[in-house]
């Protein structure tokens, strides 16, 4: 028989009660720890407490592949600048609002009235010109509707405007290239570079520096000719050109949008926060490289590019193409915003990765189902040949029309396809576990199980609901955080 303590409780009873209480408390503690993990801002990768590269936590090494996961189905062609919606829309706006005050074209006119090369482009893509006109009228409607929605969204609007103030033409940094790349990319280079110990040292150094400047993800690769725009070169203007010889390597950086704002797309969200960050980070890398004696040229959002960055990010092993046309990375999901710096600094390239994102996207389709513009392909597999590469089709013109339709002060975008992507969830333990385990399962069974949970457990408003009345009800994907809730701070 057990010895009784002075108070009459045996050691056996004490241990049993202690064990039961310990088990109950540990389960309670697990619940609280889970709740705290779900609430924690520290799991908002890229906005958490780790500026020294810890946010690039995914071990890519087991998934290195020799060839990138995008599929080459023809002779790769360089993208013409008019294939970029912002460049061609810019051309149209410049004709409509000519500097001399005399419009050179208006919406009552057709493609045949446009100057070359716009005329040929729109004669071959007449549906795009029709969509541009639709977007223009929607923008007018949006502008008129703004006073109706302003009370609810004005903090988000001010927040976006603050972020966008740094963009080129509105601020002073980073500097716009002037003159040919052979001159402008060397502006500020005053010394010959010290001999690097090896290209590997170069890559490691520039990655560490980029992280301290604020880049969440950094990758390095050689620049392929097919990723260079054709027909327009910043600093020079409209011109046909070859890839400059000193554009040898590319440093690709990625940052996420602020996560709370991302989840409340399309009306509270904004692209400008990430764009602003990328401008500053890339601008600092550019200056750093030039001070080290190397050429450097930044390629930054919203429109200042001479190269197309997403496939370069794939070459550099940051991620893979998703159905929504976004590079999806293991750390940031579809909340991955990119910029790049071309340089002649000797760098060791990273390898591309295959973590099964394409296979997941084939099954998932959540982004396509939730897209208010219906511009994301519902095809099971990529089918469209885009300049020699097989891709899921994105109707960028329809997408832009929705930018001009949602309840924002002007066309600030939508980004629902970024927010609803299952890879874009917070990096707390439960979602991170799913993301880390899935790539190791070649059968795809784990991904299917996760996707079944994703589709059945989580709530999605439905594509039309994101639009203003009468088409929808101004829904956002998530609930607005208190700092974007104007009624919390103002008497409205």
């Amino acid at each position: 028989m057990d010895k009784k303590s002075k108070k009459g409780i045996s050691r056996r009873e004490f241990m049993k009660v202690g064990g039961a209480v310990g088990a109950a408390l540990s389960l309670g503690g697990a619940a609280v720890a889970g709740f705290v993990s779900g609430r924690s801002k520290d799991t908002y990768t890229g906005w958490g407490p780790a500026p020294y590269g810890e946010d690039q936590f995914f071990n890519r090494k087991p998934f290195y592949v020799d060839k990138p996961t995008y599929e080459v189905v023809g002779k790769p062609e360089r993208i013409r600048y008019l294939d970029n919606i912002f460049k061609r829309n810019g051309e149209l706006y410049r004709l409509m609002y000519a500097k001399d005050g005399e419009p050179k074209w208006d919406l009552s006119k057709g493609a045949e009235d446009l100057p070359e090369p716009l005329k040929t482009y729109y004669l071959n893509n007449s549906e795009r010109l029709a969509e541009f006109k639709r977007a223009y009228y929607k923008a007018d409607e949006q502008h008129k509707n703004w006073p109706k929605y302003q009370d609810q969204f004005f903090i988000a609007d001010a927040w976006s405007t603050a972020h966008s103030t740094s963009f080129r033409g509105r601020g002073s940094f980073p500097l716009e290239p002037k003159g040919p790349p052979e001159e402008s990319d060397f502006n500020g280079v005053t010394m010959k570079p010290y001999p690097l110990k090896s290209p590997k040292h170069g890559s490691e150094l520039i990655k560490k520096i980029s992280h301290t400047f604020g880049a969440t993800l950094v990758g390095v690769t050689e620049l392929k000719e097919e990723w260079v725009y054709q027909g327009y070169l910043r600093g020079v203007g409209k011109t046909e050109f070859k890839k400059p010889e000193h554009w040898k390597n590319v440093i690709v950086i990625a940052v996420p949008h602020e996560w709370d704002a991302l989840y409340v797309n399309p009306t509270y969200g904004t692209s400008y926060d990430a764009y602003s960050k990328l401008n500053f980070v890339a601008g600092k890398i550019e200056i750093f490289l030039r001070k080290m004696g190397y050429s450097a040229r930044i390629h930054v959002p919203p429109v200042d590019y001479d190269i197309i960055v997403p496939p370069i990010a794939i070459d550099a092993g940051l991620g893979e193409f998703g159905r929504n046309g976004i590079v999806i990375t293991p750390e940031l999901g579809a909340n991955t915003r990119l910029a790049a710096v071309t340089t002649d600094m000797p760098l060791e390239p990273d390898k591309p990765i295959d973590i099964g994102i394409k296979k997941f996207c084939e099954k998932c389709k959540i982004c396509a189902e939730e897209c208010p513009s219906g511009s994301i392909s519902m095809d099971d597999a990529p089918t469209k040949n885009i300049r020699g590469f097989k891709r899921w089709d994105i109707d960028q013109d329809k997408c832009f029309t929705v930018w001009n339709s949602v309840a924002t002060s002007h066309s600030r975008g939508c980004r629902i396809c970024l927010a609803v992507c299952p890879y874009s969830r917070k990096n707390n333990w439960i979602h991170r576990l799913a993301k880390e385990v899935d790539p190791y399962d070649p059968s795809g069974a784990f991904a299917s199980a996760m996707l079944a949970m994703q589709k059945n457990f989580f709530e999605y408003p439905g594509a039309n609901e994101y639009l203003p009345p009468p088409d929808g009800s101004n829904k956002t994907y998530g609930e607005p955080p208190e700092w974007l809730d104007s009624s919390k701070w103002f008497d409205i």
Binding site: M15, S26, F458
Partner: protein, 99 residues
Amino acid sequence: MLEIFSEPFFWIIMGACYTFMFLGASYWAKDLGLKMNVWKWLFTGFWFALLTLTISGGFTLFGENEWRAGYYFLGFLGVIVIILAVVLWRVVKWNPQSK
């Protein structure tokens, strides 16, 4: 306020709770007449880990404001945990030497 639940002190307390639980488990097993072996303890440990992850997972989703997902997660995995608990009870009660 919630920050204290991610402080090291919280995890020290959690460690103490687990220690009490492990120490008390063998007394419970003896008093319930269970003939435990390594495999039975491992199975029990696996079940308790699954229970912990289910609770923690559900509350993580609550913390993210994904209330519906949290309830579904607790409900779906909770049923699996209860079924496994019945299986576990039969396994730990099973004693081939008593036949």
